[in-house]
C-alpha cells in the first residue's frame, strides 16, 4: 500500500465517519428513542458504493486495470488524433446529418428530450454571450425566455399572427427588455451584478404571475398556434395548403433550424470585432476602457444579443407547448442555464451543447429513480464540477498564454 493509496483510504474513512455524523441525527433521533438501524442501512449502502469506487480508483492508479485502461486510453488518443486531422467542417456536417436523421429513427420520448435539449442549447449559447464572452454574471436570464414566450403567446392568441412573423418581434421585445435590465447594472461589477439580474428575473416572473389582465396570471395562456407552413398539397392540384406543424417531427426540424441559426450567429459574434471587445471587457474592464472600448454600449449590446436568443427560444417554447404559464420561468431555470454554460465550458460552443445535453438528459435518465431523481442530479452537478472545473470542452481561447498553446 503506497503512501498515496493509504491517504485515499484514510480520506474515505474520515469521509464516511463525517457522513454518518450528518446522516444519523436526521434519521436516528425520534421522540420514541434513538434508533440506529435505518441510518446504518443507508450508511452501509453508501459505504459499500464508496468502497467500490475508491478501490477501482486505487487499481487504476496502481495500473492493475491496464487491460481495460490501456486500450481505452489508446483509443481515446487515436480519436483525438483523427479529430485533429479531419477538418472541423467534416465533423460538423457529420453531426448535422446525424441530427437530421435522428427523428426518423426514435420514439416520441427521445424526440421530446432532444427538442428540450435544443431549446436549452439556444438559451445556453445566448447566456454564453453574456457570461462566457462579456463576463457579466447574469442570474436572471430566464426573464428573456419568458418575455419571448409571452410575446408570441399573446400575439398568437389575440391577433392570430403566424409564428414566423412573431419570431423577430419576440426577439426585438427580448432585446429591449435586455437593455432595460442591463442598463442599471452597467456601473456594477462582479457579484453585485448577480443579485441585480437575479432581482430582475424574479420581478419579471412575479409580473407574469400577477398581471391578470395581460398574462391571465397563474392560469397561463392557452390555445397558442403552432408554427404553420405552406406545403405543396397534392390533394387538390399543386396548391399550397397551410398545415400546422404540430407533430413532433416537424417541431424538431423547426428547432433544429433555430439552433443552427444560433450557432452560426454566435460563432460569427465570437470571432468578430465585438466579440473580441467583449472578451477584453471580461478579462479586465478598466484596461478595456482605457484602450477605447466603449464598455457601456458593449455591455448593453451583450445583454441585448443574449436576450435575442433567449426570446427566440421562448417563442419556440410557446409554439411547441401551445400553453404558457409562469411556472416555467423560475429562478431555478436560470440557474440550470447558467450551470449548462459553466459545466459545458464557458465561451465554447461545443461545450455549451454538451452542457445542455448533460443537464437536460441527466434528469430524464434518472427518471427511473423517482424520488431520488433530483438528489442524484444535484450530486452529479457537484461531482461534474469537481472533476471538470473548467467544463467538459473548455474554449481554447479562454485566458491561455501563447506558450501554453504548444
Amino acid at each position: 500500500m503506497t503512501r498515496g493509496s493509504s491517504k485515499a483510504w484514510i480520506a474515505l474513512g474520515v469521509g464516511l465517519v463525517w457522513f454518518y455524523l450528518i446522516l444519523w441525527p436526521l434519521m436516528g433521533i425520534t421522540p420514541e428513542g434513538l434508533q440506529f438501524i435505518p441510518s446504518l442501512v443507508v450508511w452501509l449502502k453508501v459505504a459499500a458504493a464508496a468502497f467500490v469506487l475508491v478501490s477501482l480508483n486505487q487499481l487504476r492508479t496502481a495500473g492493475a486495470l491496464a487491460f481495460i485502461g490501456k486500450p481505452t486510453t489508446a483509443a481515446w488518443t487515436e480519436i483525438r488524433k483523427i479529430y485533429k486531422k479531419v477538418p472541423v467542417r467534416v465533423w460538423i456536417s457529420v453531426v448535422f446529418f446525424l441530427a437530421l436523421v435522428f427523428p426518423l429513427t426514435t420514439g416520441r420520448y427521445e424526440k421530446d428530450v432532444v427538442i428540450n435539449v435544443m431549446i436549452y442549447v439556444c438559451l445556453g449559447l445566448g447566456l454564453n454571450i453574456v457570461i462566457g464572452l462579456a463576463g457579466l454574471l447574469d442570474l436572471g436570464y430566464i426573464a428573456f425566455y419568458g418575455v419571448g414566450a409571452y410575446t408570441y403567446a399573446l400575439l398568437s392568441v389575440h391577433f392570430q399572427l403566424s409564428f414566423w412573423l412573431c419570431l423577430p418581434v419576440a426577439a426585438v421585445f427580448a432585446a429591449v427588455s435586455g437593455c432595460i435590465i442591463g442598463y442599471p447594472t452597467l456601473r456594477m461589477r462582479g457579484d453585485y451584478l448577480a443579485i441585480v439580474t437575479l432581482g430582475f428575473g424574479e420581478i419579471v416572473r412575479l409580473i407574469l404571475n400577477n398581471w391578470m389582465s395581460l398574462t391571465n396570471g397563474p392560469n397561463g395562456i392557452l390555445g397558442i398556434q403552432p408554427p404553420g407552413l405552406y406545403w405543396p398539397g397534392f390533394s387538390s392540384g399543386l396548391t399550397l395548403e397551410y398545415i400546422w406543424l404540430k407533430k413532433l417531427n416537424y417541431l424538431y426540424y423547426v428547432i433544429l433550424a433555430l439552433v443552427v441559426f444560433t450557432i452560426i450567429a454566435v460563432h460569427r459574434l465570437n470571432y468578430s470585432r465585438i466579440g473580441r471587445a467583449w472578451e477584453a471587457i471580461r478579462e479586465d474592464e478598466t484596461a478595456a476602457e482605457l484602450m477605447g472600448v466603449n464598455t457601456f454600449t458593449l455591455k448593453l449590446l451583450a445583454y441585448a444579443m443574449g436576450a435575442v436568443f433567449g426570446g427566440l427560444a421562448g417563442a419556440f417554447f410557446a409554439a411547441r407547448m401551445r400553453f404558457v404559464s409562469p411556472e416555467s420561468f423560475t429562478f431555478l431555470e436560470s440557474a440550470m442555464v447558467l450551470s449548462m454554460v459553466i459545466l459545458g465550458g464557458m465561451g465554447s460552443i461545443p461545450g455549451v451543447i454538451l452542457g445542455a445535453l448533460a443537464l437536460i438528459a441527466l434528469p430524464e435518465a434518472f427518471r427511473g429513480f423517482e424520488l431520488y431523481r433530483m438528489l442524484a442530479f444535484g450530486g452529479a452537478m457537484v461531482l461534474m464540477m469537481i472533476f471538470r472545473p473548467s467544463g467538459f470542452w473548455p474554449a481554447k481561447r479562454m485566458g491561455q498564454r501563447s506558450e501554453e498553446r504548444g
Binding site: G15, W18, F19, L21, I22, L23, P25, L26, M27, I29, T30, P31, E32, G33, L34, I131, L137, P184, R187, M188, R189, G190, D191, Y192, A194, I195, V196, L198, G199, F200, E202, I203, L206, I207, N210, F331, A335, L338, S339, I342, L343, M346, L371, Y372, M374, L375, F377, G378, G379, A380, M381, V382, M384, M385, I386, P389, S390, G391
Partner: protein, 300 residues
C-alpha cells in the same frame, strides 16, 4: 398609528430572520468570494434538526427551557458540522478554479441537500411544538407575540456576539486578515483552510438559529423552506454591502420592513417586486451597497 406600529413589528421580526441568514452569506462571501447558494439549506436543516431535538428532549422529560436551549445549541452545532462537511466536499477541491465553477457546485449542493432532507424527513411539513411559545400580549392596542420578541432579541444577541467575535477576538482578526489577503495571512501562520471552515461553521450556526425561530414563528418547517428566504437574505447581504457584517444586519432589517410595508400599504402580491426594485435602486446609486466599501475585485 397602531396599524403602522403593528406592521413595523412584523417587519422587524421578518427582518431579524433575514439578517441572521444574511450574516452567513456575508461572512462566507467576505472570505472566499462565494455566493453560497447552499446556505439556504443550512437554514432548512436547522429548522428540521430543531424540531427533531425538541421532540426528542421533550419526550425524555426535559423541562421547556432545557429543551429550548438544548435544541438551539445542538442544532447550531449540527449545522456547523454539516457546513464544514459541505465546504470540504464541494468547495475545497475547487478552491483554485474559477469562482463560477464553485457557484455551480454550490447550486448542485443546494439541490442535493434539499432532496436529502426530503428523503430523510418525508415530504410533509414537520410541525413545531408551538404550544411552548404560543400566546401574545397587548401593548396599547398592539398585538405582540412572544415569538416576535424572542426573534428580535435573539437576533440582536447573536449579532452583538458575532461583532465581538469578529472585531475583538484573535480568531476574528485572523478571519479578517484571511479575507483581505490569503497568502499573506498564511505567511504569518494563519491556516486559511481552518479559518474558512470556521467561517462556514459560524454562518451555518446562525442560519440554524434562524431556522428554529422560523419553525416556532410559523409553526412548521418544510424541506424547501430555505430557497426563497435564501435569495432574500442574499439580497439583504448585498444591500448592506456584501462582506460587511453590520451591513448584513441593516440589509436584513431593511428588506424585512420594505416587504411588510409594501404588503401592508401597497399590494401584498407585488411586495417582493418592491423589495427587489428598492434593492436595485440602492445599488444603482451606491454600487457597493450601504456599508460596503469598494472592495477591489482583483483579489490575489
Amino acid at each position: 398609528m397602531d396599524y403602522f406600529l403593528q406592521q413595523l413589528i412584523n417587519g422587524l421580526t421578518l427582518g431579524g430572520i433575514y439578517a441572521l441568514i444574511a450574516l452567513g452569506y456575508t461572512m462566507v462571501y467576505g472570505i472566499i468570494q462565494l455566493i453560497n447558494f447552499a446556505h439556504g439549506e443550512f437554514f432548512a436543516a436547522g429548522g428540521y434538526m430543531g424540531v427533531i431535538l425538541l421532540s426528542y428532549l421533550a419526550a425524555s422529560g426535559a423541562g421547556p427551557y432545557v429543551c429550548l436551549a438544548g435544541a438551539l445549541i445542538l442544532t447550531m452545532g449540527y449545522c456547523a458540522v454539516l457546513a464544514m462537511a459541505v465546504e470540504k466536499v464541494a468547495y475545497k477541491p475547487l478552491r483554485h478554479s474559477s469562482r463560477l465553477s464553485v457557484l455551480i457546485s454550490a447550486l448542485g449542493m443546494s439541490i442535493f441537500l434539499q432532496n436529502g432532507l426530503m428523503l430523510t424527513q418525508g415530504v410533509y411539513d414537520k410541525a413545531y411544538p408551538t404550544q411552548m411559545t404560543q400566546g401574545s400580549f397587548q401593548v396599547a392596542g398592539l398585538y405582540i407575540s412572544y415569538m416576535q420578541v424572542i426573534i428580535v432579541a435573539v437576533t440582536g444577541i447573536l449579532l452583538v456576539a458575532l461583532n465581538a467575535l469578529v472585531f475583538k477576538t484573535r480568531i476574528g482578526k485572523a478571519m479578517r486578515a484571511s479575507a483581505q489577503d490569503k497568502i499573506m495571512s498564511g505567511l504569518v501562520g494563519i491556516d486559511s483552510d481552518r479559518i474558512i471552515s470556521l467561517t462556514f461553521a459560524i454562518g451555518a450556526g446562525l442560519a440554524a438559529a434562524a431556522g428554529i425561530m422560523v419553525g416556532f414563528y410559523y409553526g412548521s418547517v418544510h424541506y424547501g423552506m430555505g430557497f426563497v428566504p435564501g435569495i432574500k437574505a442574499f439580497a439583504a447581504a448585498v444591500l448592506g454591502g456584501i462582506g460587511n457584517v453590520t451591513g448584513a444586519m441593516i440589509g436584513g432589517a431593511l428588506i424585512g420592513i420594505i416587504e411588510v410595508f409594501a404588503a401592508g400599504y401597497l399590494s401584498s402580491e407585488y411586495k417582493d417586486v418592491f423589495a427587489f426594485v428598492i434593492l436595485i435602486a440602492v445599488l444603482y446609486f451606491r454600487p457597493t451597497g450601504i456599508m460596503g466599501e469598494n472592495v477591489d475585485d482583483t483579489r490575489v
